[in-house]
Amino acid sequence: MRQYKLAAAVAAAAILAGCGGGSSSGGNQSTKIQFSSQVSFGDSLSDVGTYAVGTVAALHGGKYTVNTLTPSAQNWTELMAASLGLPAPCPAQTGLSGMAADGFSVGVVNHAGCYGYGQGGARVTLPYGPGNANLDPSLGGSPVLGQLTVPVLTQIQNHLKAVGGKFSGNEIVFVLAGANDVFVQLATLNANATAAGTTAVNNLVGARVQADVAAGTCTPTDAQASNCVPQAEGELWQASLGSAAAVQAAVGAQVQTDVKAGTCTPTDALASNCVPQAETELVTAYLTAQGTAAGNAYAGGAGATAAVTALGQAGGELAAYVNQLILANGAKYVVVVNIPDIGTTPFGNSVGAATVGLIDTMVATFNLQVQNGLAGNPNVLLVDFNTQSHVNTQNPAQVGLTNVTTPACNLSTSVNLLGSSLTCTTANTIPGDVSHYAFADSVHPTPYGYSLLAKYVATQMATRGWL
């Protein structure tokens, strides 16, 4: 009996002994497909240092995130390259065409063998994007900084020139663009709406001036009858109130408000000295309201339609470039990332619900065109960054984010020359631990935010069997 027990114990020991060692390890880190190189087209989200020259470099900036020097902060394209076992991507082009006095005029250099084409401010087709010296500052242009903003169309053409017109078929190609088209269209809409409001007020006042002159209630002293404008404006305001009693009540209330606020000091019991100021304020408020109404009517109608149409066109163009310039020229692995959820960025949070609604429509229209143009192609992987970025801001703790509303960078120009993540470093972030904030500035991710995008792209690539 004793023998059996002993034998059983020895048998167990023998088997357990066979289990010795075997600690946990990283295992085989190679990917299913070993790509020959990584080619990336896009905008600031994919920019690996196009503008890391001159003053930007001196400030240790250059990427649209919280920059660090060693190791350099990485955006999603750099994380993907590392994940795929490829060399760190380098910018295909560097330079700035801004003000020399500020150190923002640095000769444009093309770097052979560098396929990081993404440039901050780049649009899909049109050459002048945000930060470009040739774009009106009211639309986001910057003669001071002078970003190159080479559009995606040209980026692809430049790559084809660099590699003899064809992809080898073994590259991993990343495409992420469209957000700058949203920003420029939004700024254009804003400018056009303001113009529409101004025009509406001018037309209103002009018509009244003409009526007054025709009726002989005002004698013009110049060809423009500019002396008749204040009278016409006052009449329009009074007419809007309907009765003399209403006008008197409105002026009385405004005088009281001014006196209370201390913007007018009464010199008699009736505060009659404050009446002209109150009238002027009321007239200005009335005309502003008229202009705003007209501007909003434009923004909500023709302007919104134009902006959404423009984004639909840009999305269709991007799909066409992927089809005709990338796939048709031999690329076999093309990852197209759509426009993220701009509405839940700090920028989106700052513009009001109506504008967010418009932004959402613009983005959705663009993304749908891209989707329609590329869906079903086995050589294209569409990554729905829009939904994923929305999920991230709605489930911050789940994805490890500690803040999804506040920019990590201190964007005051007293500590950040450009007030942008481009010149944000760990030296000029806001106080506290911002390492797991979602956003570096109003729209760009922190390095952690980029890692979430990379993680999602990697997951989708693995699902497709590309990683």
Partner: protein, 235 residues
């Protein structure tokens, strides 16, 4: 004893079988005939371990509902039985390590294999056997205590990519865990010495999985069902 010494050096799989043969060889002097009190028996067979559930979602930072699933695996097993009374028996079971594959599920569905690991679940059962000790067909129920040993956890490029793209190779470690294992089975005596045995058991196994260097964890309520076929010999 000399034979046993050799067995000790043998690799796991061959070791298990060789050890059983060694026990059989030593048992020639045994006198018992049926499943009566004091009877010893040894058996060898094949056991398939099939997890019944995915892991819980991996802790943050992860995409919501990032779970994994674990593949089934079958391995040879060896059992040693001792009849304490005509109805109560003790049984110790062990086998070569099960080799499991861990793949993405939930939000990670489709990413493919994330890693592999081995599991060794030595189990001590207390069993109650129905019917008469000399009855050829004896159903039984049992409750076991399993100590699940996890080893040789290997990550992959995919695990690294979906947990920390571009980062250091991801590793994972599963905590060794005690677990209860109820079972039902049936033995059929071919003759006084040889018998066949089929049994199904479920191990309520819920170890903690640690993923590094991202310092993530998840619980793995795999609750595997084991289905085994054993041929045994009574002494």
């Amino acid at each position: 004893m000399k034979k046993n010494m050799q067995v000790k050096k043998a690799p796991a799989l061959k070791g298990a079988l060789a050890a059983t043969v060694a026990i059989a060889a030593l048992a020639i002097s045994a006198a018992a005939s049926a499943q009566t009190a004091g009877t010893w028996a040894v058996g060898v067979g094949y056991n398939n371990v099939s997890p019944t559930a995915s892991t819980d979602p991996i802790s943050p930072p992860s995409l919501p509902n990032s779970t994994t699933k674990v593949s089934s695996n079958g391995q040879p097993i060896a059992v040693v039985d001792y009849m304490v009374t005509d109805h109560f028996s003790l049984e110790f079971g062990i086998g070569t390590p099960y080799k499991h594959k861990m793949s993405g599920d939930g939000a990670l569905a489709g990413v493919g294999q994330l890693g592999t690991f081995e599991q060794l679940p030595p189990t001590l059962f207390a069993q109650y056997r129905f019917l008469d000790a000399n009855s050829p067909l004896r159903p039984y129920v049992g409750i076991g205590l399993t100590y699940a040993i996890f080893r040789d956890e290997k990550g992959s490029g995919t695990l690294t990519a979906v947990t920390d793209p571009g980062g250091a190779p991801a590793t994972f470690k599963i905590d060794n865990t005690w677990a209860p294992t109820p079972e039902v089975g049936l033995t059929y005596a071919f003759n006084k010495k040889w018998y066949g045995d089929v049994r199904v058991s479920k191990t309520y196994l819920d170890p903690t999985v640690h993923i590094n260097p991202t310092n993530q964890t998840t619980k793995a309520p795999l609750n595997p069902i084991s289905s085994a076929l054993v041929i045994g010999y009574r002494f």
